[in-house]
């Protein structure tokens, strides 16, 4: 797949370089050695934010031009770029399980010597590290913005029906029943989009699973059925709780998607909504005046055990084989400067991953922010699953009336099959 680095390629590169130089010169810009960075930006909601950041960067660094590329379905797009050996110079990715697989395949440069790495909250750094890296001790992505997943609620409806913010599982059920009895939909659910069941899964599963569940599961390899931990043994409680919450959804949930859910919650059609901080800008886009609050999933009846699931929404990486490592680093350092990170966090209702950042002031995040600032956060557990395991689809089947035992057995079976057919490369 790699082009041979022979003299022919080099000659070709000079010709191409000469041609582009000629283009620049004939354009009368009279700028020598303008380096163009190819910047892959995955988040469609943030195109304008990054365009503004790039303008500032280019004004401060006349020798560097940054071209923002954004595509739908970035996870697939980056893979096709990699197949063609066209790794972008700088890229942002949702720091999820797929990012981890790419990092382990040594696609990204090591950034551990960037000074800003030290300024990132330790708990956030751990979340990225847990996903894997090319080699031990390497940092392949710097967290640019963090999200938090919890339950969003409509403050006005809670006040109207005199419901307190629940801190235990029983209080959550009681709140849902109160709204149901009053004819208000407790949760607006969007079952048509399979992924929207994921947040409830990661919150309940992450809080209720035994310690080091995925490490032990990985150690079992393909022999999950007779192993010490398995989904069938350790996940029934989480899945029962998940189906209970989905039972409080509105009629016709199977035909509603994420956009419909954001619009309905913005219009006050439900008291609660099982989505994370990343949904807040979309909800406010529909109705800027909606009075949103948030609280973490009270997975048990002991509030001190409650944690918030947080992921790195945007991580910044540099292509390992970039031709402009210096310029790429300068751009990443600019991106990671506290002003840029914090302004972005405000605009996107996200959390700043920097330890020095001021506390979040967004009222919609007020219920989740203390957990984040106290490092009471865990990562998204679905990032520990192999990408070829279709968790969202199985969750959708379950919520649409499947049986919990079948769901758990399917998860165990798929995990075993994938473990059996994943043949690692010889380490060299």
């Amino acid at each position: 797949m790699k082009l041979p680095h022979g003299p022919a390629t080099r000659a070709l590169r000079y010709v191409a370089g000469g041609a582009s130089l000629a283009l620049v010169l004939s354009g009368c810009t009279a700028q020598d050695d303008v380096v163009t960075l190819d910047f892959f930006q995955f988040k469609p909601e943030a195109v304008a934010n990054f365009a503004a950041i790039i303008d500032e960067f280019e004004a401060a660094n006349p020798g560097i031009r940054v071209v923002q590329n954004h595509v739908p379905d970035a996870d697939t797009a980056i893979r096709t770029l990699l197949v063609k050996d066209k790794t972008p110079d700088v890229l942002t990715l949702n720091t999820n399980g797929r990012y981890g697989e790419l990092a382990k395949a040594c696609v990204f440069a090591d950034l551990s010597d960037l000074p800003v790495v030290e300024q990132v909250r330790p708990a956030v750094r751990d979340i990225v590290e847990d996903l894997g890296s090319c080699d031990d001790g390497e940092v392949n992505a710097v967290p640019f913005s963090s999200n938090a997943s919890g339950i969003l609620y409509n403050r006005d409806l809670f006040a109207q029906y005199g419901v307190e913010v629940p801190t235990t599982w029983d209080e959550l059920l009681a709140a849902a029943r109160t709204f149901e009895a009053a004819g208000v939909t407790p949760f607006y659910t969007t079952v048509k989009d399979a992924w929207t069941m994921g947040p409830a899964f990661v919150n309940l599963g992450g809080a209720l699973q035994p310690e080091d569940f995925f490490d032990r599961l990985r150690a079992e390899g393909s022999d999950v059925a007779s192993g010490e931990v398995s989904f069938s043994k350790d996940y029934p409680e989480a899945m029962e709780k998940l189906t209970t919450l989905y039972g409080f959804g509105q009629d016709g949930a199977a035909g509603r998607d994420y956009n419909a859910g954001n619009a309905a919650f913005a219009a006050g059609e439900s008291a609660m909504y099982m989505q994370g901080s990343y949904a807040i800008p979309a909800i406010r886009a529909v109705n800027p005046d909606v009075n949103i609050g948030s609280f973490p999933y009270p997975a048990t009846n002991s509030p001190e055990e409650t944690v918030v699931v947080s992921g790195v929404d945007v991580g910044v990486s540099i292509g390992r084989d970039t031709e402009h490592p210096e310029e790429a680093r300068r751009f990443v350092e600019f991106l990671m400067s506290p002003e840029v990170v914090e302004r972005y966090a405000q605009e996107q209702s996200a959390f700043s991953p920097l330890a020095t950042a001021a506390d979040s002031t967004d009222p919609a995040l007020a219920g989740l922010a203390p957990y984040f600032e106290d490092n009471r956060i865990i990562g998204f557990i679905d990032h520990q699953l192999p990408a070829s395991l279709p968790l969202p689809q199985y969750l959708q089947e379950l919520v649409l009336g499947g049986r919990t035992e079948d769901f758990l057995a399917t998860m165990d079976r798929e995990w075993s099959k994938i473990a059996a057919r994943t043949i690692p490369n010889e380490k060299d």
Binding site: R79, A105, G252, L400, G402, K417, R421, N425
Partner: protein, 309 residues
């Protein structure tokens, strides 16, 4: 095929003088005309196909390092019930759609071949689905199934249709069939129309004089006379439906759950999104041979039926 082509054009003169040997007269320009197409086919089709077959013997993820794993991908395929599920759905869908599309297309073609008003206009209208992009039509149908049909059913009091048929794992495949048949019928209608026009009208006149009913005329004249067109339509539509992809992406994305996950969709998802490029390439190689075998058998069976006439 090749033996027929190279056969001397005049069977009566096998020992004709060298100057008249057929090979000498035309071939070179023919070869030159075929060459560009052959080169393009080899570069853009055969080479990728062989590369794919090569990668099906590796653990390649689509990027990064890889190593040879022999036939282990193929062995693992046979233990994967997700693949069996995809085969089950794809074949159910393809068979139902093939039967439906041929019945509908043939009926419409016969109607459009009759003496009706605005015949040309109707032929144009019925061809429109073929020139529309499946993805665009799919999103329109998605909206219709999710919003319009339930609203209409609600107003009419038909409770069984008030929830979208795409929302239930048991009925979603029907939605895919409806979209695919609607879209594919246009092309089959054109082929059947072409076939119907090859039937001499004297046959019908003679049959009418003998007092044959329209149904009798259809079973004894029309259908046997368009046998070759029926064969090609059956083979092409089954092959196309077995490769169903766009319709599903735009309508259900394989859901709810994995209930409408076709083999092509599974290969795309596992191979490009799931990082199991080598494994799903092995799946694709097997599927290639399955489709070739089915098309071959179908062609043989249907052509024998043609010949018996």
């Amino acid at each position: 095929m090749s033996t027929e082509v190279s056969r001397p054009t005049r069977p009566g003169t096998p020992s004709s003088p060298p100057a008249l040997r057929p090979e000498r007269r035309v071939p070179r320009v023919f070869y030159l005309m075929v060459l560009p197409a052959l080169a393009l086919f080899a570069v853009f089709h055969t080479v990728p196909l062989l590369t794919g077959m090569f990668f099906s013997l590796t653990n390649y993820a689509g990027y990064g390092e890889w190593s040879f794993v022999g036939l282990r991908n193929y062995v693992n395929l046979f233990g994967d019930d997700r693949i069996y599920g995809a085969y089950g759905f794809t074949f159910l869908f393809a068979i139902v759609s093939t039967v439906a599309v041929n019945i509908i297309a043939l009926s419409i073609a016969i109607a459009l071949n009759g003496r009706i008003r605005f015949k040309t206009g109707f032929r144009g209208i019925f061809f429109i689905p073929n020139i529309l992009s499946i993805l665009i039509v799919g999103y329109v149908f998605n909206y219709l199934f999710s919003n319009s049909v339930p609203a209409i059913a609600d107003a009419l009091g038909i409770t069984s249709l008030t929830t979208s048929i795409l929302a239930s794992p048991d009925t979603a495949w029907i939605g895919v069939v409806i979209l695919s048949v609607w879209q594919a019928a246009a092309f089959n209608i054109i082929i059947y129309l072409a076939g119907l026009q090859t039937i001499p009208t004297e046959l019908y006149e003679a049959a009418a004089l003998d007092g044959a009913s329209p149904w009798k005329q259809f079973t004894s004249i029309t259908f046997p006379m368009i046998g070759a067109f029926f064969t090609i339509n059956m083979v092409l539509s089954l092959k196309n439906f077995l490769q169903v992809f766009d319709q599903i992406v735009s309508l259900t994305a394989g859901g709810p759950g994995t209930s409408t996950e076709s083999i092509s969709l599974l290969i795309y998802r596992g191979g490009f999104q799931g990082g199991e490029y080598g494994y799903q390439t092995a799946n694709a190689v097997i599927y290639l041979f399955v489709i070739i075998a089915i098309s071959f058998i179908q062609l043989r069976v249907l052509q024998r039926r043609e010949a018996s006439f």
